[in-house]
């Protein structure tokens, strides 16, 4: 199930770091990501970056577009919002209906 993949993908600091890097600069190639990581002193081998990107893509947190022989990587936050909708929206709906109940109750008392 994709939601399990999303949680698993996010449960790793290196992968969250890669998502942050794409948030700062969307549409990077593997080379660009690696050289920017190296420049800022983050130690992640090219192999590790490549592996993490594949996991992020598998969880649909990264979308890719081919440009010639290269792949551009884009942050895809849609699954995170799907989780928000599933886990937060549900509670908010409950809160909203509780407020609606309260309003009804209070207005009834005025009658």
């Amino acid at each position: 199930m994709i939601m399990d993949d999303v949680f698993r993908a996010l449960a790793d600091a290196s992968r969250r770091e890669l998502l942050d890097r794409l948030h700062a600069q969307n549409g990077q190639t593997l080379n660009e990501l690696c050289s920017r990581l190296a420049k800022s002193g983050t130690s992640m081998t090219r192999q590790a970056v490549s592996k993490h990107l594949a996991i992020l893509e598998g969880a649909n947190l990264v979308a890719t577009v081919k440009r010639g022989r290269e792949k551009l990587h884009y942050l895809n936050p849609v699954p995170i919002h799907e989780i928000a909708e599933r886990w937060i929206g549900k509670y908010e709906r409950h809160r909203l209906s509780a407020l609606a109940e309260l309003k009804r109750g209070l207005e009834k008392r005025d009658d």
Partner: protein, 165 residues
């Protein structure tokens, strides 16, 4: 073509026909797109109008229309003066059946080099697409994209754009 600025992907348990209708029919967009209705006859070059109640928020022009597979229109953001002077950007929807799901890829590009629109729209798309998925799979749009949330979303877009260089 320049590299796209945003690429969003979602997998929706639906058919390309239903997804197409959800993208092109205002009665559907109202339910997941902050209460906005989209209007167009979807012929090449035709006008696209985004309406919120009686207000027209944004305009566009149909650039590609291949039913159930590919839709593209230009987009002029008009809801606030901050964005009005910018040239139209471009949105493209690609639909691809993958087993029991349809993969929807949304690309947004052709922004001005320094674009306030780009900053403003970046927060809206993921919400709208998650809500679209929710609507098609459960019959209910997201609580995060109701018309009531639209005012907040617009204010945030304006604040983000004002904060941008």
């Amino acid at each position: 073509m320049t590299d796209p600025k945003f690429v969003y992907v979602t997998y929706i348990a639906t058919t390309p026909e239903k997804l197409w209708q959800a993208l092109t029919d205002g009665a559907f967009t109202r339910q997941y797109w902050f209460g906005q209705t989209i209007e167009s006859d979807w012929r090449l070059g035709s006008r696209v109008v985004f309406r919120s109640g009686s207000d027209v928020h944004d305009y566009g022009e149909v650039l590609v229309c291949e039913p159930y597979s590919r839709l593209s229109y230009s987009w002029e953001v008009k809801f606030h003066e901050l964005f009005r002077h910018e040239r139209p950007s471009r949105v493209t929807f690609e639909l691809e059946t993958m087993g029991a799901e349809v993969k929807l890829t949304v690309t947004h590009d052709e922004f001005e080099p320094v674009s306030k629109v780009r900053t403003a729209v970046s927060h809206g798309w993921p919400l709208v697409l998650a809500s679209l998925k929710s609507l098609l799979e459960t019959g209910r749009g997201s609580t995060l994209t109701t018309p009531e949330k639209h005012r907040g979303a617009k204010e945030r877009a304006i604040a983000l754009a004002e904060g941008a260089a």
